[in-house]
Amino acid sequence: MKSMYKKILAAMLIISMFSCSKELHRTPIGIITEGIPPTHESILFSVKSSYQLLSNTLNIIGEWGWDDGTVLRNDFILQDIASGDMQKKWSPDGDQAWMDQFSDFSFTSSNSGVKGQWSYDYAGIARANLAISYLTDVSTITNLGIDDAKRKYLLGQVYFLRAFYYFDLVNLYGDVPLLLAPLKNFNDAYNVSVRETKANVYVQISKDLVEAKALIPGGKFSDDSEKWRVSKGAVLAMQAKVALYNKQWTEVISTINEIEALNYYSLNANYFDNFSIAKEYAETEVIFSYNHQSLTTPRSGNGLCALLGWGFVAPTTNFINAFEANDPRLGYTVTGQDVYKYLGELNGNNKGNDDAASNKIYIRWADVMLWKAEALNETGSYPAAIAIINQIRARARNTVTVAGTLPPAGTLPDRNVASVSKDEIQGWLMQERRVELGFESQRFNDLKRWGVAKTFLTGLGKNFQDKNYLYPVPQGEIDRSGGTITQNTGY
C-alpha cells in the first residue's frame, strides 16, 4: 500500500514538472524581437520615413500628445508666434496655453513646444541614421540587388535630411547631442546624451551636405516620378543657407550662383503658385517642400489646416501693418480668418481638414534670392542686392490680388537702386523677407541672426531676454539623461 502512495505522489510530481521548463522558453509569437535583416522594401521605407518628421501630418509621434508638443511640427509656434507675427488664435483663450508662452516669452524648459520640436528633429535623425546604416552597408545592398546609382540617390537624401534636422536643432538650442548611428541597446542612450558644440555640429552638417551633393543626381527633380524627393538644388540651397547663418557671405553668393547656373528655378509669375495645391511640382520656385497628400494610407495630409479650423493661427496687428498698401501678398497670407498659404486654395474648404493636400514649403527661390541679396549687401555689392529686392517686389505687385485684380499702380514701388547705405538696404531686406515669407517659419531665425530680436521684440512689449536667443533644452531631456545633457544659460 505504502509503495502505491509513493508511486502516485511521484507520478503527480513528474506530470506537473514535465512540461515546465520547455514551456518557459518558447520563441516569442506575434512580435518581432530581433533586428531583422533589411529588405529592399525596408530600406526604401527607412528613407521615406526619414522625411516624415518634416510634415504637418498629425500624430506622427504619439497620439494627440499636446503636452509633449508632438501633435504636429512646431515651426509655426517656435518661429512665427515667437517672432510676433502670429498669435495662437483669433480670439485669445486658454486652449493650449503653452503656445501663448511664445508670445510673451514666459516659457520655461518644460514648455510643450520646446519639447516637441526637439522630439521631432531627433526622431528624424534617428530614422535617417537607420537609413544611413543600411545604405552604407554596401555588401548588403549589393546582395539585395540594389544598384549603386539607386543606393547613392537614396543615401544622398538621408544625408541631406540629417543635416536639415541638425541645422534646425543648432539654431533653436545651440549645442546639441550629435548622434550619427543607430544605438545597439538602451544603455548606449546615456553615452550619447552629451551636448556637442554648435561648431562641431555645423562641421557634421556641412559634411553631410557635401556627401549629399556628390550622391544626388542632377535635374530639377532627383526622381521624375517622385518629385518630392531631395534634389540637387535643395542640397545646394541648404549649403547656401548654412553659409548664410554662419555669415560666410562669399560662399553664400558662390553657392547660389551655382544654383542659378542650373537654370531650374525662377520666381513664379503669380505669388500664390508657390502655395497652390493645383500647381505643386508644376511651378518653378519651390526648391524643397514636404509633399502632403490627401487620402493616403498611412495618412500624409497636412494637419495644420485642421488647426486653422479650430481657430488657431492668427496674425498680429503688427504683422498686418507691416504690409505696404495694397500688397497682394497680404491677402494670400491672411484673408478674413483664412490663411490661403496654408490651405493651398483660395477658399476655406480645407479649413478644418486634417488631411489636406497643401504642401509644407521649406525652401523656395524667393527666399534664396533674398539670401543672396543679403550676402551681396554685406559684401558691398549694393546695386546687385537692391536689384534682387526689386525683383521680389516686382513679382509681388504684378501678382493679382486674392480678388483677382492687379493692385493699383504705385503699389510696392522699386527701392532706390542708387542707395549705398548698407543699413538702409538691410532694412529693406528685413522688411521684404517679413512680408514675402510671412508665416513661412523663417522670421524668428532671421531676427536672431540679424541680432535684432531683442530690440524688435522688446519694442513690441515682449519680455525677450538675451537668454532667449536660444530656446531651453527640454527639462525632461536633462532628467532622462541623468543630467549629462545640460541646460542653456539663463534657464
Binding site: 518581432i32 485669445p92 518644460s110 479650423g309
Partner: protein, 1044 residues
C-alpha cells in the same frame, strides 16, 4: 400530548418562533420531570428544523447524537431526521453559529434556533491552497460576513466587498452599467504595474471576477499581508481575494428563487444656468474680452427662437434593473450537486437604451465521494455578459460632458419647419445651423459661431452603438485522495480552465450637421462620426491551470502540524483579430458588418497573439502548540516566461507567528476577555502585472524600425510586508476587536524609463527601479446583542494608508502626468500646479505683483497665483504640490437588526482625506468658450471687492487654463450605500408543503444619501482626473426570495 405539541408548533407563525424557543425549552423541562416509566429506551425517529433567529432555514447544519456515531445534516430547508433515544441529547453545530445541545426529551419533532456566533474562531477559512481554523490564522486574513453581503443587490462580486473589510478599498470606476470595479488592498504600491489583487476562484487564480454572479458566492476571505498571500508568489503583491462558490449539500433537494426589480435615478446634479442667465453671462463675458462694437449676445437676447433647454434633465431618465436567480441543490452521501442560472439586466440612467448591461450566468457544482477516501468534483460556470460602452468617464464623445457644456438656448430637436430637419436625424447639432447657413450663402460659417460646437448629448446617447460582449467558461475538475490510517495525507489534483472570448463591435453612424470639414470624399455629410465607420474585434484567451498538492496533518500530543507541498503550472494563450471599415452605403442594422464597408482607403485589419507560462513550486508548514502558539512558514518559487533570461526564478518566503494569550492558564480567570491573540508576520511578495509578455526583449516593427529597446535583466517587483495584529474578543465574544499595523515596501518597481529623446521616437524601456511605501493602521470592531426581542449587530471598520514614493531612478527623477507629479518624498501622482491665492482686484495690485515682466494680457478680475520664486513672473517654476489623490482614510459600517419576522440591514461607507482634479468644473465654469456654466459663476468678480474666489467672466484666459488648486477638490464622502428591509414568512405550509416553504420580501435602497463637499458628479468615481463621469445613481429595489 405529543401530537398536541406538534400541532402547536406547526401553527405558530414563524415570527413568534424565536420567542417560542424559550417556551419550548421550558415545556421540555417539564417533560423531563415526568416519571421515567413513561420513557421508552428504544430509538425513535426524530425530525426537526434548524433556523436562524431571523427564521431563515439553515442548510448543512450538523446534527449529532451525543456519545453515539449517529450524525446527519440539515437539508436546504433546514429540516433533518435522525434516530435517537428519547433521552438522547443532540449536538447541533454550524459554522458561524453558537453550538447547542438539545435534549430530545421524548419529543419527535424539534424546532431549533441557532444563535449567530460573534466568536467565529472555529470557522474554517480557505487561505489559499489549504484551509485553516480562524483561531489558528497568524496572517492578516479578513473573512467577510456573508450574511451582510447577501443584502447587497449589486451585479459585481467586487462591489460586495465595499465597506466590509478594513484596508480594502473598493471603488466603482463610474456609475455606468457594467463598468469596472477597482479594488486596492493596503494602498497602491506600484507605478508601472497594476495594484489589483489576485483573485483565486475555487482554487483557480484569475485577474477578473466580474463574470461571477454574486448570488453564487459562499465566502470571500481576503488575504491582506505577506504571510497570507506569499503562497501566491509573483502575482500576490496586491493581496489575494479568495472566492469560494456555493456547493451542494447533502439532504433533500431544494430550489431557491431570488428576483428583484428596481429603478435608478440620477442624484447630486449641479444647477446650470437657464437660457436668460446664460445669455446675460455671455453678454458679460463678451464685454470683458476686450471686444468692441455691438455685443452679439445683446442683439441675440431679443431673438424669439431661443430655447430654454435643461440638458441634464433631458439626458437623465429613470434607469431599470432586474435580477433573477434560480438554483437547485441537494445530494446524497455519495453525490452532492448545485446548479444555478442567473440573469442580471440594467438599463442605465442615460436616455435611450444604449447604456445597458446584461449578464447570463450558469453554474454547476458536483462533488462525488467515489469511495470513503476518494472524492472527485467539478465547478463549472459559463457566463455571457454584454455591455454597452458609453463614454462614461468623460472620454470622447463625452455624452455626460456635453450635457453640461451645451448652451441652454439650443433646443433638443430641430423644428420640423427647419430646412435641414431630417426625420432620421431630428437632433439639433451646430447651433442655429439653418440660420447660419442661410446667412452665409449656403455653407456653415464656423467663424461666426457664438454658441460653441458642443455636441448634442441626446444625439450622442442615441447614436452610441458600441457593444462589448464576453463569453467566459471558467471551472475546474479535481480529484482528492485521502491516505494513511486517519486520512492524514490528502493528495489533490486540480485542473482548471479559463476560456475567455471577447467581441467588441462599434458601429458609429454618421449624423449631425455639415460643417464643411472632413475629407473631400465625405463632403455634405454630418460632422459627427464622419465618415460612418465600423470597428470590430474578436479575441480569445485560454488559461489552463494545473495544480497538485499534498497536504499532511498530524497531531502529536499538544503539537499539531500541517504540511503542504505543491506544484502549479499555468499556461496562457491569447489571440485576437480586428478590422475596421468606413463609408457604408447602407447603415441599416442588417448592413452593419465588415463586408459592407469596402472603400479602399478605409480597409484596416489587424491580428496578434501572445502567450505566457508560469511554473511554481510551493510549500508551507503550520504549527500549533496547544492552541496557544501558532507559527506558519511558507515558500514559493515562481519561474515565469515573462521574466528576462537573466532572472527566470523568483523566491517568495514568509513567516508568521501568533500567541493566543487567552488560552494561557493565567488568563483563565479573566472572565471578560474571551479571546486574545497577538499576531506578527513578515514576507515577500511579487508583482509581474506590469510585465507584458516580451518586455525584456527589443521589439521592431515589420519594416525593421526599432519600437523599444529590451532589458535583459528585467524582473518582477518585490514587496516586503510586515504586519502586527491583535484579535480581541470581550464579554463572551459579544464585542470583538481586530487591529493591524502594516508597512509595505515595494522596490524594483517596473518603471517605464523613457530614454532621452535624442535616440528618436522609441517607447520606454521597462527597468526595475524605485521604491514606494505604504503604511497603515486597520481596525475592525464588532458588537452584537441578541438577548432581546430586537436583535442587532454592528460591524465597523476603518483603515489609514500613508503612501510615499521613496525612490525613483537617476534618469527618471520625476514623472509628470497631466495634472500631477510623482517624485520621491511625495505620494504617488500628487497634484501639481499653480496655487490660487485670490483674484486681482485692481490694476495696481496686479502691476505690483507681476513686476517681473510685461503682462498685457492679465486684467483685474483674473486669478492671482502664488509666485513661488518671487520673481514677479508667473511661469512653470511657480508650480507646487496641491493635493493627494490616494485616499488616506477608508471606513465602513454594517448594521443588521431584526425584530420578529422583520430584518434590517444598513451599510454606510466613506472615504476621507482624498483629493480629485475636477476637470469638468474647469470646462464648465472656467473655459474660455461660450459653454454653459453652473450657477456658481453668477457670483463672478465684476469690480473691485466683488469676489476673491470666482474670477471675472471672459472669453479670454483669466488664468483658468493653468493646472491649479481651483480644480483640486476634497473628494471625501460618506454614503448610505445600502439599506434593506425584509420580512420573512417561514414554513408557510408546514409539512404539507404545498408550494413553498419560506418567502422573504424585501425593499432596498442604494446611495440614498451622500455627504460630500466635492462639486463634481460623483466623489466615488475612480479616476483622479474627473472629466465628467457617469454618476452613480440612487436605486430603489423590490425583491422576493422563495425557497421551495
Amino acid at each position: 400530548m405529543k401530537k398536541l405539541f406538534k400541532t402547536i408548533v406547526r401553527c405558530i407563525p414563524i415570527h413568534v418562533k424565536p420567542a417560542m424557543l424559550f417556551i419550548c425549552c421550558a415545556i421540555g423541562c417539564l417533560f423531563l420531570q415526568l416519571p421515567a416509566t413513561a420513557q421508552v429506551k428504544a430509538n425513535t425517529t426524530i425530525s426537526g428544523k434548524v433556523s436562524t433567529m431571523l427564521g431563515e432555514a439553515l442548510a448543512g447544519v450538523t446534527v449529532h447524537v451525543k456519545n453515539t456515531s449517529s450524525t446527519t445534516t440539515t437539508d436546504a430547508t433546514g429540516n433533518f431526521t435522525i434516530n435517537a433515544a428519547a433521552d438522547a441529547v443532540l449536538e447541533i453545530s454550524y459554522i458561524g453559529y453558537v453550538n447547542q445541545e438539545v435534549p430530545v426529551a421524548g419529543k419527535t419533532s424539534l424546532i431549533i434556533v441557532l444563535e449567530v456566533s460573534a466568536n467565529t474562531l472555529n470557522d474554517v477559512v480557505v487561505v489559499g491552497y489549504s484551509s485553516q481554523r480562524k483561531a489558528a490564522i497568524t496572517g492578516a486574513v479578513a473573512s467577510v460576513n456573508m450574511r451582510d453581503l447577501d443584502k447587497r443587490r449589486v451585479p459585481d462580486v467586487a462591489q460586495l466587498l465595499q465597506g466590509q473589510v478594513a484596508g480594502v478599498q473598493v471603488t466603482q470606476s463610474t456609475g455606468a452599467p457594467g463598468d469596472g470595479i477597482n479594488i486596492t488592498i493596503r494602498g497602491v504600491g506600484t507605478i508601472g504595474s497594476s495594484s489589483d489583487p489576485l483573485y483565486v476562484v475555487d482554487g483557480l487564480p484569475t485577474t477578473s471576477i466580474s463574470f461571477i454572479n454574486p448570488a453564487d458566492i459562499q465566502s470571500i476571505p481576503v488575504l491582506k499581508d505577506a504571510a497570507a498571500a506569499s503562497i501566491y508568489g509573483a502575482r500576490a503583491a496586491g493581496g489575494v481575494i479568495v472566492i469560494v462558490t456555493k456547493s451542494g449539500k447533502k439532504g433533500k433537494s431544494t430550489i431557491d428563487i431570488n428576483y428583484f426589480n428596481g429603478v435608478q435615478k440620477v442624484a447630486n446634479l449641479p444647477t446650470m444656468l437657464n437660457a436668460s442667465q446664460y445669455m446675460n453671462k455671455m453678454e458679460e463675458s463678451w464685454n470683458n474680452s476686450g471686444n468692441t462694437g455691438v455685443n452679439p449676445y445683446t442683439t441675440d437676447k431679443g431673438r424669439t427662437d431661443l430655447a430654454n433647454t435643461d440638458w441634464l434633465h433631458e439626458l437623465f431618465v429613470l434607469g431599470r434593473s432586474q435580477n433573477l436567480q434560480v438554483s437547485a441543490s441537494g445530494g446524497s452521501d455519495k453525490v452532492q450537486y448545485l446548479m444555478s442560472a442567473g440573469y442580471y439586466g440594467q438599463n442605465g440612467i442615460v436616455i435611450y437604451d444604449n447604456d445597458q448591461f446584461k449578464r447570463f450566468s450558469f453554474r454547476t457544482n458536483v462533488n462525488a465521494n467515489l469511495t470513503d477516501r476518494v472524492t472527485v468534483g467539478t465547478n463549472l460556470q459559463i457566463s455571457n455578459s454584454i455591455q454597452d460602452k458609453i463614454s462614461s468617464s468623460g472620454d470622447a464623445p463625452g455624452v455626460i460632458r456635453h450635457a453640461f457644456l451645451r448652451p441652454p438656448v439650443i433646443g433638443v430637436y430641430k423644428d420640423v419647419t427647419d430646412p435641414t430637419y431630417r426625420a432620421a436625424d431630428p437632433y439639433t447639432d451646430l447651433p442655429f445651423y439653418a440660420q447660419n447657413v442661410a446667412a452665409n450663402g449656403g455653407s456653415w460659417n464656423g467663424g461666426a459661431n457664438k454658441y460653441e460646437f458642443a455636441s448634442n448629448p441626446i444625439a450622442i446617447a442615441k447614436y452610441t452603438n458600441d457593444k462589448r460582449s464576453n463569453l467566459k467558461t471558467f471551472g475546474n475538475v479535481y480529484a482528492e485522495i485521502a491516505l494513511l490510517k486517519n486520512k492524514e495525507l490528502k493528495l489533490r489534483s486540480n485542473l482548471g480552465v479559463d476560456l475567455d472570448m471577447n467581441h467588441n463591435k462599434a458601429f458609429n453612424k454618421n449624423y449631425g450637421d455639415d460643417d464643411g470639414g472632413g475629407s473631400s470624399l465625405d463632403a455634405g455629410t454630418g460632422r459627427q462620426n464622419r465618415p460612418t465607420n465600423l470597428n470590430e474585434e474578436r479575441g480569445q484567451q485560454t488559461t489552463i491551470t494545473f495544480t497538485n498538492t499534498a497536504n499532511y496533518t498530524k497531531k502529536i500530543d499538544q503539537h499539531s502540524f500541517n504540511v503542504l507541498l505543491g506544484t502549479e503550472y499555468i499556461t496562457n494563450y491569447s489571440s485576437g483579430i480586428s478590422a475596421s471599415r468606413a463609408r457604408f452605403g447602407n447603415t441599416d442594422s442588417g448592413f452593419q458588418y465588415i463586408d459592407f464597408g469596402a472603400f479602399p482607403q478605409d480597409l484596416w485589419n489587424g491580428g496578434a497573439a501572445s502567450e505566457w507560462a508560469l511554473f511554481s513550486l510551493f510549500g508551507s508548514v503550520n504549527y500549533n502548540f496547544d492552541n496557544r502558539f501558532f507559527a506558519t512558514a511558507s515558500l514559493r518559487q515562481d519561474a515565469s516566461s515573462q521574466f528576462a533570461a537573466n532572472n527566470q526564478h523568483a523566491l517568495f518566503p514568509s513567516f508568521s507567528a501568533g500567541w493566543r494569550i487567552s488560552q494561557e492558564s493565567f488568563m483563565k480567570d479573566v472572565d471578560w476577555i474571551s479571546d486574545f491573540k497577538l499576531r506578527a508576520s513578515t514576507g515577500k511578495l511579487g508583482n509581474q502585472s506590469g510585465l507584458n509578455n516580451y518586455n525584456s526583449l527589443s521589439i521592431y516593427d515589420p519594416q525593421g524600425t526599432l519600437i523599444r529597446y529590451g532589458n535583459p535583466d528585467l524582473k518582477w517587483e518585490t514587496t516586503n510586508q510586515n504586519n502586527i495584529g491583535i484579535d480581541l474578543g470581550l464579554f463572551k465574544n459579544k464585542f470583538s476587536i481586530s487591529a493591524d499595523y502594516f508597512k509595505k515596501t515595494t522596490s524594483d518597481l517596473l518603471l517605464p524609463l523613457g530614454l532621452p529623446r535624442v535616440v528618436g521616437d522609441v517607447k520606454p524601456t521597462i527597468v526595475n527601479s524605485g521604491t514606494v511605501s505604504n503604511t497603515g493602521f486597520e481596525l475592525a470592531l464588532g458588537y452584537r446583542n441578541y438577548e432581546h426581542a430586537v436583535k442587532f449587530s454592528i460591524n465597523a471598520n476603518a483603515a489609514t494608508v500613508t503612501n510615499k514614493v521613496e525612490k525613483l531612478n537617476a534618469n527618471l527623477p520625476n514623472i509628470y502626468g497631466q495634472v500631477s507629479k510623482t517624485e520621491p518624498g511625495h505620494p504617488l501622482n500628487s497634484f501639481y500646479g499653480f496655487k490660487m491665492t485670490g483674484i486681482y482686484q485692481n490694476q495696481q495690485e496686479l502691476d505690483t505683483y507681476l513686476n517681473g515682466a510685461p503682462h498685457p494680457d492679465v486684467k483685474p478680475g483674473d486669478i492671482k497665483f502664488q509666485d513661488v520664486d518671487g520673481n514677479g513672473i508667473i511661469n512653470d517654476n511657480d508650480r507646487m504640490y496641491l493635493g493627494n489623490p490616494n485616499p488616506r482614510f477608508n471606513y465602513g459600517s454594517n448594521l443588521s437588526a431584526s425584530y420578529k419576522g422583520f430584518d434590517l440591514n444598513v451599510l454606510l461607507q466613506g472615504v476621507s482625506g482624498v483629493e480629485k482634479y475636477n476637470d469638468l468644473k474647469k470646462i464648465i465654469d472656467y473655459d474660455t468658450r461660450p459653454f454653459n456654466h453652473t450657477v456658481a459663476t453668477l457670483n463672478a468678480w465684476h469690480g473691485e471687492g466683488t469676489s476673491n474666489t470666482v474670477p471675472r467672466s471672459t472669453f479670454n484666459d483669466n488664468g483658468s487654463s493653468r493646472v491649479s488648486s481651483i480644480f483640486v477638490e476634497d473628494a471625501s464622502y460618506f454614503r448610505l450605500k445600502n439599506i434593506e428591509i425584509g420580512y420573512t414568512l417561514s414554513n408557510l405550509f408546514g409539512k404539507t408543503k404545498a408550494v413553498f416553504q419560506d418567502v422573504r420580501f424585501y425593499v432596498s435602497a442604494q446611495n440614498l444619501f451622500t455627504v460630500t463637499n466635492y462639486t463634481g458628479l460623483d466623489p466615488e468615481a475612480y479616476n483622479m482626473f474627473d472629466q465628467g463621469t457617469y454618476p452613480q445613481s440612487k436605486a430603489f429595489l423590490f425583491g422576493i426570495n422563495i425557497k421551495l
